[in-house]
Amino acid sequence: MQEDMSFKNLISLFRSMRFGLTLLGILGVLAVIGSTIPQGQSEAFYRMNYSEGRVRLIMALGFNNIYTSLYFKSLFMALCINLTLCSILRFKDILKKANGLSYSKEEEKIESLSIKGIEKPDAFIKEKFNSWGYGQIKTRQEGQRTVFYSKRLSIGYFGSWLIHLGLLIVIIAYSYGQYSNFSAAVYGIPGAVEEIGDTGLSAAIRDFRIEFGAGETINQYYTELELLDQEGIPVASGLLYVNNPFRYKGYSFYQTATGWAAGIKAFKGNAAIGDQLLYEGTTYIDEAEGIALQFNKLYPDYINTSSGMSTVSQLPNNPKILYSIFYQGSRVDMNVVSPGEIINWQEYQFALDNINRYTYLQVNKMPGKAAALSGALLIMVGLYFAFYLKPRHVVAVVEGHSLSFYGHAAVRGKNVFNSVNTGLGG
């Protein structure tokens, strides 16, 4: 018996509005913290930017990865339980409310009159209801009383229920999507073929071009993509650009970023020791020789100003490459060169040439998108029902010679301040 009571108490705690709001409040506070502390950075980053005490706090409480932390997920799970219990347990009551009749004689009284002089009371009541904008009339007997009633917009009762259900679907769909998400990146210059993770597919970048608008501003980035199966046979192809992803069997390819690439040739004396493609920000490393060259940055339209190196435009009118040479782990040289210009350092020579824009595509497969969208639509429909479809009714009670009217008789919108919608009632 006592166990039953504790279980009931637990259920009633989990389904309560107060519990749901407390969870939302905590999630809100954590979201504020997460938005102000950069997420997903290394401990060294926080040490550079915060005091020792704050770093200890951030790392101890997991504020560096708040949105993937166990407690953040647990709070959402608890919210799901709250929404589920709230939705399931309230549904019967809502259905009863929508189908039944409940009115307050004290608060909803419209008028009372005698039916002595009225020849056909039923017709009189019908006429009255119609004048208030109510059509279908139902009757029921309550002891000595005959009750006539008509209802409008009962669907409004389902508003808050739909919102809660929609929110629950969105959270579950998002969680499932995060759990089963596939994500990879594909990048390269035109002609490159890259494997896409373990999907068995390869992406062949057939072309990449930038469309310039007025004043050399970038209008759009276009990648022509071909997907190949394990045998190298094309299975799909298409053009993708920002806001127009390419989709194939649940995988979506997004035009995400771009940068510069250059071919690097390395020599020791007259012997070639390396030849590869180098992307901006990456490093050519020859471990055997202990030498490395980093492609720091490319200035497509180079200009040297008093405030440093810069570019006049994004067009490769006067390209210069900023590089660094490392030997045995120490930086030994740093300079800018034109493409093709030989870089000499002791017995080594390097040449960076054939500069090209590369395209960077994000690939992902996130199940549950359609479910999340359905949940979002349910929330919006529910909000409309809750706020703008206020259930209304009129009731006529005939008892002896007395006829009393109750309910919402005023023409819609006229009794602005007489009633308030139930809103989101949880």
């Binding site: 709001l21 409040g25 979201a31 938005s35 771009t258 994000q362 809103g423």
Partner: protein, 278 residues
Amino acid sequence: MMLENQSFNFALALYIFSLVGYLCFFTLRKEKYAVYGSMLVKFGFLFHTLSLATRAVEASRLPLSNQYEFANSFAWGIAFSFIAFEWRYKLKLLGSFVLPLLLLVAFYAAMQSKEIMPLMPALQSKWIVVHVSTAVFSYGAFAIACGVSIMYIIRDRLREDRFINKHLPNLRVLDIISYRAIALGFIMLTVVIVSGAIWAERAWGRYWQWDPKETWSFITWIIYAIYLHVRLTKGWKDKKAAWFAVLGFVSIIFTYIGVNTLLVGYHSYAIFLGFRWV
């Protein structure tokens, strides 16, 4: 450009004079000043609309794409909501509380670069119209709720003041007006978040990634969701709910101005990890 600038400056000047009118009404307690204030704000709104329309023609798109354009449209949304609510509920004192919010946003717009730039690739989407225009009306409605809630708090503090009693509706009515503005704003905010998520999925590959703008929209949504629920709880329907409505608008302002200027994310369009993100 000249017509746009002149119209905007005229609108700004008329809004300032309108606020002066409303403040005179509030302090000198003469009704004619409220009439002037109401008239001036309507003229200001006309010039404001002309300014936005001119920019739309010049840019060949709706002016919703950069800090200046959105701040300008946001101020227009507040003006539109104010005129609608003042007309609907005949609240003569509303201007004294809403026009400062309108001017705050309008001055912020005036401080931004007005240069018309071509749309960056990430903004070239049909979703921008739904996403940003609903934000304009949502924020406008929340500004009204904030103004009405401040009126509520003042009405509650000055219960015996005859002028306040005459020109401010009773607390219950103020609570209902604030509630209705928030209900409208909340629906719009939900559309903003959902349309933003759909757009983000098409542009960035994920419909929700806890970007600061998304996060702060979520925080604002939570604040107003709590407001809408606690109104149903005994003891919360009155002054506490009014404070919540004010807090919600503070969150709106931070979501709009604070996030764009103080926090780094996709909405600040920063250069990220050495790549030029598109």
